[in-house]
């Protein structure tokens, strides 16, 4: 008679048992993070492989964290030990100070402030900047000796500028540039970042804003203009590392110091090109790079071409072990969140059914969590829970609550009123009514809520990649950056399939808990 209750508990239990228990060993392990774009991942991978080659430390990679905020919080709270950062970002975005044009000043300011405030160390710069710059197709210069932005000022009134939306609006973008140089274009065209290169090559626009190490600059014949009045803030790349990590493993300072001044902008463009357009993986490019710098101990070059463009099936097959691991991570995250959701939301729904007056406000409050954009909720988690599995599970758990609480409460409240009335009239206590009548009759409705939560959770888990929790979101995010549909689909299709499977499975459970006679 209480099959409903038991089976709901059982489903929660099954999700727990299926979970691999995450190991939380801390010693002799360095966690390297990166932001969610290719250059950042590559630099992080270079750090990681160098440490692996020259120490006995185990290195854990948390690559592709969603932006500066996430990375920095992760570093500050000790969730990661090290990640690649740019001095300009440190100055403007983290310290919130006005940009300075001078690279050395910027480095010295961030070094001093980060040490003082957080005991975070900026290592020796890697030798290149990834800053804003203006570029012009060589064909458009009409043979004029164009080298600097000051040179451009003279011919600009006859040219069309094509700039990203952000660049047009940021004070350290176009508006400031126009004031500093007295620059005016004939026309300014707002453009999507990814379309500017083709538009310039096709002659639609004459001048565009670029990042100085963009891989596409290696193939398009563009002149990158020198910022001779030092308007753009310097964005020197460097490793940013925790002081406590350095104290524990002092050798890391000198080992990572091997990369001081190791790259120039031209080299980085070539490397970024291999990642962005060649579709190679950061591991392979990092290994080649370290190998070319003779920084690896043995000859460990294992350059394996990645068959990215060979179609989805071939690609997925070549990545099967990784995809399998991602799938397991994905299921673990979603399963843990859903299991916890059931364990909290079903009893909460039961409790609310006993306290009608507070039920609606409480449920509406929980409903509000559904309106928080998922990426924002994940971001809120970081200051409190750091990065990785824990904040991801908590965020997903919060999302799973509403459908289960709602259905548990209304399922119990509306369960066969005649039967409830008869049970009461014949002398059942309220607990007996709950246990023998309401719960079994509401079980299918409760399971329907669990099912909805399950599908939502599996779908939302793709975003866990943004805070380094892994899952099938990792290939999706990577594919989006590389604009590579194959890579995107290698994550998106399995996660869609998982959602369908979970839906199907929970649908079966739903039928199974439906009491006979109903």
């Amino acid at each position: 008679m209480t099959r409903g209750l038991h089976s709901v508990c059982l489903v929660a239990l099954v999700f727990f048992v299926l979970l691999p228990s995450p190991a939380f060993s801390q010693e002799d392990r360095i966690v390297v993070g990166s932001k969610n774009f290719m250059e950042s991942k590559l630099l992080a991978e270079i750090f990681a492989q160098l440490i692996e080659a020259r120490t006995d430390l185990a290195v854990e990679r948390r690559l592709g964290l969603a932006g500066t905020q996430v990375c920095f919080e992760a570093l500050r709270t000790g969730a990661i030990d090290l990640y690649p950062e740019y001095t300009g970002t440190g100055l403007v975005s983290i310290l919130q100070q006005p940009p300075t044009g001078d690279a050395r000043t910027a480095l010295n300011v961030v070094r001093a402030e980060f040490l003082k405030r957080w005991d975070l160390w900026w290592l020796s710069p890697l030798g290149f900047e990834n800053a804003y710059a203006l570029a012009i197709p060589r064909s458009r210069t009409d043979g004029a000796p164009l080298r600097t932005i000051s040179d451009l000022v003279k011919i600009a009134p006859s040219l069309t500028g094509g700039f990203g939306y952000e660049f047009i609006n940021r004070p350290d973008g176009l508006p400031g540039l126009e004031t500093r140089y007295g620059l005016t274009f004939q026309r300014v065209q707002a453009m999507q970042q990814s379309l500017k290169y083709q538009a310039a090559a096709a002659g639609e626009i004459d001048v565009l804003d670029v990042y100085t190490t963009d891989g596409r600059l290696a193939v398009y014949d563009f002149v990158v203009l020198e910022d001779d009045r030092q308007f753009f803030p310097p964005y020197e790349a460097s490793g940013l590392i925790r002081g406590s990590t350095l104290a524990e493993h002092p050798e890391l300072g000198s080992i990572l110091g091997l990369l001081a001044n190791a790259f120039d902008a031209g080299t980085m463009r070539q490397l970024n090109y291999r990642l962005q357009e060649g579709g190679e993986s950061p591991e392979v490019v990092a290994r080649d790079t370290l190998s070319a710098l003779h920084l690896l101990t043995g000859d460990e070059a294992v350059t394996q071409p990645v068959p990215h463009r060979d179609g989805l099936l071939a690609y997925a097959w070549s990545k099967r072990t990784t995809l399998m691991r991602r799938t397991i991570e994905h299921l673990s995250l979603a399963g843990l969140a859903l299991g916890l959701g059931i364990l909290v939301a079903v009893p909460l729904g039961l409790l609310l059914e006993r306290h009608h007056t507070v039920a609606e406000p409480v449920i509406r409050g929980i409903g509000l969590t559904q309106t928080i954009p998922s990426i924002a909720l994940l971001a809120f988690m970081i200051p409190v829970f750091g990065i990785g599995m824990l904040p991801a599970v908590i965020a997903l758990w919060i999302y799973s609550l509403f459908p289960i609480v709602r259905n548990t409460y209304s399922g119990l409240r509306d369960a066969a009123p005649q039967a409830v009335d008869a049970a009461r009239a014949l002398g059942m206590t309220e607990w007996q009514i709950l246990h023998w009548v309401r719960l079994p009759l509401a079980a299918p409705v409760i399971m329907a809520g669990v099912r909805t939560a399950g599908v939502i959770t599996v779908g939302t888990t793709t975003l866990a990649a943004f805070i380094g929790a892994g899952g099938l979101g990792v290939p999706i995010v990577a594919g989006l950056q590389m604009a590579n549909t194959t890579v995107i689909l290698s994550g998106a299709l399995p996660s869609a399939a998982l959602a369908l499977m979970i839906d199907g499975f929970l649908g079966r459970v739903e039928t199974w808990v439906r009491p006979r006679g109903v």
């Binding site: 008679m1 008869a422 009239a425 014949l426 002398g427 007996q432 006679g517 109903v518």
Partner: protein, 250 residues
């Protein structure tokens, strides 16, 4: 005269302020009699009936059971000792016939064997073959069979008082007549105090020792069939009795 089993004194009921569903009702049910509550739809019959097992509480006035005010009794214990047949049978849809009939016995903590034998006895009493019906779910029964199961369930723990809310409602005339005939037989044998609601005059005249007529929450008259026929206290009762299909009320 037998001692009073149930009594209602000056009871009024408002579900919402200003809307009277029952107005100053006085009613006495003596032990062993079958009292019929009759009235049109919405007249307050169910509301009045549910006061006897504490499912509805009066807004004013007093309800007594065996001479004691109902509010001093433990409502759970009270309900386990007052049989109740709901207007729509009210069987638990996910329990079998056997489980439904054995419900009160289960609540009272009877041994399983005693429960089973009692259930079989009762199914026999309402003329449902236990072997054929005990494992069925309510959805697998006809309307009349469901009402018989509900009746059996109300009698299962042998309560002294049984409340029946239109136990033969929504049945075709033939089945209804047959069930009424069985009810009369049981009534002679069981000698229980019964309060039965109906809106059917023939049923009232046929089954009731006494009849109470409700109209818009007012109790117009209480008396035997003969009292009502010979000395109707109200025009409405004259009208009501005119709706009899034929005169025989053996």
């Amino acid at each position: 005269m037998n001692p009073s089993a149930l009594s209602i004194r000056d009871v009024s009921k408002e579900f919402s302020p200003g809307v009277r569903v029952l107005t100053h009702v006085d009613l006495e049910v003596v032990q062993g009699e079958t009292l019929i509550l009759i009235g049109e739809s919405g007249s307050g019959k169910t509301t009045l009936l549910r006061m006897f097992n504490g499912l509805t509480h009066p807004s004013s006035g007093e309800v007594c059971i065996h001479g004691e005010p109902i509010q001093v009794k433990d409502p759970i214990d009270l309900r386990r000792h007052v049989g109740y047949v709901q207007q729509d049978a009210g069987l638990l849809p996910h329990w079998t016939v056997e489980e439904n009939v054995g419900l009160v016995a289960l609540l009272l903590g009877w041994e399983p064997e005693r429960r089973t034998s009692r259930v079989h006895e009762l199914l026999d009493l309402v003329q449902l073959d236990p072997q054929q019906f005990r494992a069925r779910y309510p959805i697998e029964l006809s309307g009349g069979q469901r009402q018989r199961v509900a009746f059996a369930r109300a009698l299962a723990a042998d309560p002294a008082i049984v409340l029946l809310d239109e136990p033969f409602g929504a049945l075709d005339a033939i089945t209804r007549h047959e069930l009424q005939r069985q009810f009369l037989g049981l009534k002679q044998r069981l000698k229980k105090t019964m309060v039965m609601v109906t809106h059917d005059v023939d049923e009232a005249l046929r089954l009731g020792d006494r009849i109470a007529v409700l109209k818009d929450g007012h109790l117009l008259q209480t008396g035997t069939a003969t009292d009502l026929l010979n000395a109707p206290a109200h025009d409405y009762i004259v009208q009501l009795l005119r709706h009899r299909s034929h005169g025989d009320h053996s």
